[in-house]
């Protein structure tokens, strides 16, 4: 119990004194996970829309792949991305192993199935009569898709929140492709693992509190965006 109290005190201390190490780690967490979530949206929403609205051979199979992908263990993603990005791998010449870019790639891979799956599910649930109605308004293809997406924006926002939540909390992929290198690829989750392995439980607790606060405020922000009343 004392350890928890010490952890909370340490968290306050680190936050209030603006500890530069913690600040760096927190900003990198935001940068990596934010960028990865953004990329997953760029990939995921179009793909999810395609999957929902277009009939093509193998669609069911692809959908099942996407749904399985939502449960992909981050450590597995980390391993496979490592195999590709190591010097001994096909993309080793890019020299991006142990950099934030590799972490963003891995996290985008983790988040994308979530966005694809949830977008697709949301669109598939729209009333076919509604879709017909929108088309009847004489919309272009793009306008049609835009209006449809607007219709399911609550679910899209939920997909964003899910994607972000999944990547900001993962440690397996970040550790594998980032290496938890101080000042370069250390993020809140990997820093927590390190402090635990060093036996600095109070600092680990402090970092976990900071991570939780970060995740909470971002999610709160996104939720408020999601919940804002129409035409306010």
């Amino acid at each position: 119990m004392e350890m928890i109290g010490q952890g909370i005190l340490a968290a306050f201390h680190l936050l209030l004194t603006g500890d530069p190490e913690v600040l760096k780690i927190t900003l990198l967490t935001l940068k990596v996970s934010g960028t990865a979530t953004f990329i997953s949206l760029l990939i995921g929403i179009p793909l999810g829309t395609l999957l929902a609205l277009k009939e093509f051979p193998g669609r069911q199979f692809f959908l099942s792949l996407v749904n399985t992908g939502m449960g992909l263990p981050p450590v597995v993603v980390g391993l496979w991305v490592s195999i590709f990005l190591w010097r001994s791998g096909p993309f080793g010449y890019l020299d991006i192993m142990y950099t934030p870019i590799a972490m963003i790639i891995a996290q985008a891979i983790i988040a994308s199935p979530l966005v694809v799956g949830l977008t697709s599910a949301a669109l598939q649930q729209t009333d076919p009569k509604l879709r017909l109605q929108i088309k009847a308004l004489g919309t272009t293809r793009l306008q049609y898709l835009w209006l449809l997406l607007k219709e399911v924006r609550f679910s899209i926002m939920a997909a964003i929140i899910a994607g972000f939540g999944a990547v900001v909390s993962e440690v397996g992929a970040s550790m594998a492709v980032g290496g938890n290198i101080k000042d370069q690829t250390r993020v809140l989750t990997t820093a927590t693992v390190l402090e635990v392995s060093k036996g600095n439980f109070d600092i680990a607790i402090a970092l976990s509190i900071i991570l939780s606060l970060l995740a909470y405020f971002i999610t709160l922000f996104l939720t408020l965006l999601q919940q804002k009343k129409q035409g306010a």
């Binding site: 934010g34 922000f221 804002k228």
Partner: protein
């Protein structure tokens, strides 16, 4: 208060402010990340150096003292990848690292023999100790050899935590069981597959025995209900070597950087730093510098 944050305009403004803030802070962050370039810091052609080392080496905190010194002196940016010994050596064997700092000489021998590791040098040593609960069910306290103690633990089927992960510590432990002519198996012999810190926590929690390097034990001691029961034997030495990954086998390695790192580790100033490390935090030296010596000559 939240009710006021409902208008679309307010939310867009909030969003824009947040994005700008994050970008600004991130921007500030990235301009600071290139290591402080003093006027005299050299800038090597390929500044990135991948150092594969072990989790216990990193956990000891020694690298947090040495790496910044090396970076400042030579201008290299070191990517210290701390993994299990098995993984570190595997990285060497695939050319995924430039330089290795490891402590499992029997496993390293293979890499030296097949020319994967070159410029292989002894750097320092510390030692392993057998720790356990004060209650000491197997009565090993004060025994002169680890083999004796292992036999007593096996005979009494006292719970023993093994790393079980091909780490330097694990390799040492397995070699001691082999020396005792025992094959540990059964519910009492538990393989954690985790790092040393974690394994110690588990051993403490379950009042069991484990083999640990002294440095990690001392660093974690305040959280553990364990004590050192067997120590001081020559067989328990934990010996660290540094070596370059052979550029002839793997042309992509940063050989200048790797060479610079090996030289740095053997440099008398660095050796002095190594010898002083730990004195102010845990009251005793955690490593003993050995550059220039032969491994066979080490021993108390």
């Amino acid at each position: 208060m939240l009710k006021k944050i409902k208008s679309r305009k307010t939310i867009s403004t909030l969003l824009a402010t947040l994005v700008i803030l994050v970008l600004a802070l991130t921007g500030c962050g990235t301009t600071q990340t290139p290591q402080p370039q003093a006027a005299s810091t050299p800038t090597p052609a390929n500044p990135n150096l991948i150092l594969a080392t072990t989790t216990s080496t990193q956990d000891s905190g020694l690298l947090e003292v040495l790496i910044p010194e090396f970076q400042k002196k030579t201008g290299y940016t070191v990517k210290t990848v701390a993994v299990g010994t098995g993984a570190a050596l595997a990285m060497g064997e695939k050319g995924d690292a430039d330089v290795l700092l490891v402590h499992a000489p029997s496993s390293e021998k293979k890499l030296v023999d097949n020319q994967t590791m070159i410029n292989y040098n002894l750097v320092m040593h510390n030692d392993f100790v057998l720790v356990g609960p004060a209650s000491d069910p197997a009565k090993i306290k004060g025994m002169k050899t680890s083999v004796e103690a292992f036999k007593a633990i096996e005979a009494s089927q006292s719970v023993f935590m093994s790393r079980g992960d091909r780490s330097g510590t694990d390799t040492m432990e397995k070699s001691l069981w082999a020396k005792a002519n025992l094959k540990p198996a059964g519910k009492w012999y538990q393989e954690t597959g985790s790092g040393m810190g974690q394994t110690l926590t588990m051993a403490s929690d379950k009042a069991s025995y484990t083999l640990t390097d002294r440095a990690t034990f001392l660093a974690n001691q305040k959280n553990l209900k364990l004590e050192i029961l067997v120590q001081g034997e020559a067989a328990l030495l934990n010996i660290y070597h540094v070596g370059q990954v052979n550029p002839e086998k793997f042309p992509k390695v940063n050989q200048e950087g790797a060479k610079a790192f090996v030289n740095f580790m053997l440099d008398p100033d660095t050796q002095k730093t190594i010898g002083e490390f730990g004195k102010d935090t845990v009251g005793q030296a955690l490593f003993f510098p050995d550059a220039g010596k032969k491994m066979e000559d080490l021993g108390k």
